[in-house]
Symmetry: C2
Subunit: 477 residues, 2 copies
């Protein structure tokens, strides 16, 4: 059984490696519904940690949770024209209940703007009702026909969607950034995944938004992926949905709105970013098990060593520790089992460690072994976990930086595109954006904030005319 645990694929063969690790570490499974996945307990426990972190941040800035119906009548979904155009091809339609045909088809929500904003129009009357900051955690269906990859692209996924309404545009725009900052903090500080914050191009923005901000992330094959999005909707929805309020002068005004979402895709990004040839590496702050204690014993000293293992566990209050005392498996098997699952710290203890009141720390990220005395064990374990957390972030950041190449023309762009994202200037025209896509397959993944704080000077990578933006181009998931 020990061999079955070992990874067949190296991380350099990324897509094979990814599919293998998702199965072998028991993260997710295919189901008999094509493109829909089963999220297994270990991954779900990670999702719960991500949820808690985001939910706490949302609540701290006054966002309240709700639940809206999953079904959206066709007529309601069609109320904002760009929105329905964007989502119509991917909608799953309920047409029957039992053997009865419904009077109107119901969309399974691809996103909840329309069903929520119908209620917003009822709830918002006065400036006193604003801001309204609503969130829901739910399932979403988008019946895509691209090749599914568990977590990264499935037809059903889990997410949160925040929907906020404000009396004025400036406050609304700040909320877009607040949400993006929540997302950045969870990706970078909790999941140790470095991100680039930026704007989407007009072409790539959300159907119905005024503008879309995004966190863009580098995948191990140099492709890029959208980590989440935060949209400013302006009055694009409040006008067709009639969401108005009486301002302090008793005048009717339309609200300004945002929506922002973060999905289970983030877990796929997490697994992809930190894994290695041996399996997963889960950053300590998001790990369901931060340290696994593996007792090494023979029949004659089993009782004492197991007791010692549990003593060690008790010396680590506040940490998420698991003692692997399964009798049916060898220590070697257990090492592989937990390495595959990416538990950041392994603590080995055998009779010799017991005699010297020690244990052996083994870091999952670099394999380094250190014998440690039990005195001050908790502080030592916390320090080791903190080091692992930082080291994982640094390593991922270095990788992303090294795989970001500059290009000032199409020859350079094409030369570097395999395995890299490209930093290049762009004139802002759709023609050039489409041109790059057609010639290379690369899309504009984002217009990074950092590169666009000052007016951009130089030539567009495609047409050579005056550029207005600095952009990241990349092949994307």
């Amino acid at each position: 059984m020990s061999e079955q645990l070992g990874m067949q694929h190296k991380k350099s063969e990324f897509s094979e490696w990814y599919n293998e690790i998702v199965q072998k570490a028991e993260l997710a499974d295919h189901s008999s519904v094509s493109g829909c996945m089963v999220i297994r307990p270990y991954a779900h426990a990670i999702w719960e940690r991500i949820q808690r972190a985001l939910d706490d941040r949302f609540k701290a800035r006054g966002v309240q949770n709700t639940y809206f119906p999953m079904f959206i009548p066709e007529s309601l979904l069609k109320k904002e024209s760009e929105h329905i155009e964007g989502f119509a091809p991917e909608v799953a339609w309920v047409t029957h209940s039992g053997e009865t045909k419904l009077g109107e088809r119901l969309a399974v929500r691809p996103t909840s703007e329309t069903i929520m904003y119908e209620s917003f129009a009822k709830w918002i009357r006065s400036w006193r009702d604003l801001p309204l900051k609503i969130n829901q955690w739910c399932n979403i269906v988008r019946w895509e026909f691209k090749h599914p990859m568990l977590f990264l692209r499935t037809r059903e996924f889990l997410w949160q969607e925040g929907h906020t309404a404000f009396a004025d545009k400036e406050t609304a725009k700040r909320d877009v950034e607040d949400a993006r900052e929540d997302y950045r903090a969870v990706y970078e500080d909790l999941m140790a995944v470095p991100v680039v914050s930026g704007l989407k191009s007009e072409k790539e923005k959300f159907a119905g938004a005024e503008y879309t901000t995004t966190l863009e992330i580098m995948m191990p094959d140099g492709w890029v992926i959208q980590g989440c999005t935060s949209h400013h909707l302006g009055q694009n929805f409040s006008r067709p949905f009639g969401i108005t309020f009486k301002d302090k002068d008793e005048k009717d005004q339309h609200v300004y709105q945002n929506s922002w979402g973060f999905t289970t895709r983030s877990m796929g990004i997490l697994f992809a970013t930190h894994g290695d040839d041996k399996g997963l590496i889960v950053p300590p702050r998001v790990a369901p098990v931060q340290a696994v204690i593996v007792p090494i014993y023979k029949d004659e000293n089993k009782t004492e060593v197991l007791k010692y293992a549990h003593e060690i566990s008790e010396k680590l209050p506040g940490l998420r520790v698991h003692v692997d005392d399964r009798d049916a498996y060898t220590p070697g098997f257990k090492f592989n089992w937990w390495e595959l699952r990416g538990v950041p710290l392994r603590i080995e203890c055998g009779p010799r460690d017991m005699a010297s009141k020690e244990a052996v720390f083994v870091r999952r990220d670099d394999g380094k072994k250190t014998a440690v005395k039990l005195t001050g064990l908790r502080e030592k374990a916390e320090a080791a976990l903190e080091e692992i957390q930082k080291s994982l972030y640094s390593k991922a950041k270095k990788f992303a930086d090294e795989h970001t190449k500059e290009a000032s023309n199409m020859t350079e762009l094409k030369k570097h595109l395999d395995g890299n994202r490209i930093r290049a200037l762009w004139c802002g025209s759709r023609t050039c954006e489409d041109g790059v896509r057609e010639e290379t397959g690369a899309k504009i993944s984002c217009l990074p904030y950092g590169l666009n704080t000052k007016p951009v000077k130089g030539e567009c990578v495609y047409c050579g005319k005056g550029a207005s933006h600095a952009a990241y181009f990349g092949r994307s998931y």
Copy 2:
């Protein structure tokens, strides 16, 4: 605006009162999808507390969370014949994606046995893989045509469904009781809602179960409602789904299974049980706001009184306290606002209280006012909340007991049925069960454990022949 806050209906007009309180306390809302509801922030915060309590209990006994696809292919749903017969009339069917007709219809899950057990068959190989204890929190759709009541009966609702598999029947049966005990604890200890534990009759059991246990609850109109259910499935699903394991002798065995669920209906029961003519009363342990501090000030002392209100709040760490410092509303309006929402303890403070270093406690359940010194305020508030919690339970228990009447024949049953549930003996035959239903509208809501511990002696309420069970009959939601 103060008048609008007041309740128009008394609790004695239960269904009108219920619909009014759900709207006025902003608990839930209808949507443009018939029979589907919007759960608003205040009710959702209560649901989150119920979820946390249940989830903690599940985890403490080794249950792990997962997420399974919401869609179930028609062929899979049909694999267990009683199961599909029970659910087919209420299934919402997805037939199209975009404009493309699907090859096979997909059911929106009415419950997840079939989609989960397909995976169980893959995951379970050996006795080492057992027990398997899985849970998911998700949305469920049952397209009923009865009159919807928000929370109590809607076509989409939220729930958790636990699904467990065991090597032997006895352990499985204990798990049915463990789940039922989790539910009992949450209803009685958290929500202060008294329950009766019992078995469902063969007629009323879950489609596909060997037997179903339930918690039955008394509603304010004397009707009864099913609070949740916990089913022993025996091998009814493991046989058609081929869920087998090699036992310690390497022999293939089918697993024994259970499923158990608890839904957002519980909130409707909570609201119904504890409300009064002024609005909701939320038991302290489940209340999002346990104590609301209402400062009473005039322009000239506003700053000091508001400061004093926040000082009081700081003296209540660990309690869920809200200071209502909204300037646009009068204290009287605020009193009504929070009474309507059932916050269990109101703390008033004005300039005189400030001078004497006091505050006034007002209990929501009995309206009793007490001036209290700030010294030891937290202990006093905790004691008051604990008293309210206990008093709400006692009051509800007394109501349920008083509205439980005995009947030894149909004349007595009919005489007492309006506004009461009936305790009566039953011979166990379907004919008599159907007979009572046809003549009176009353169903067997449960066969209470407590009344069936010893062999039952006496005559069936319907046929007068020898009885085998003691049953509760009632009109039911």
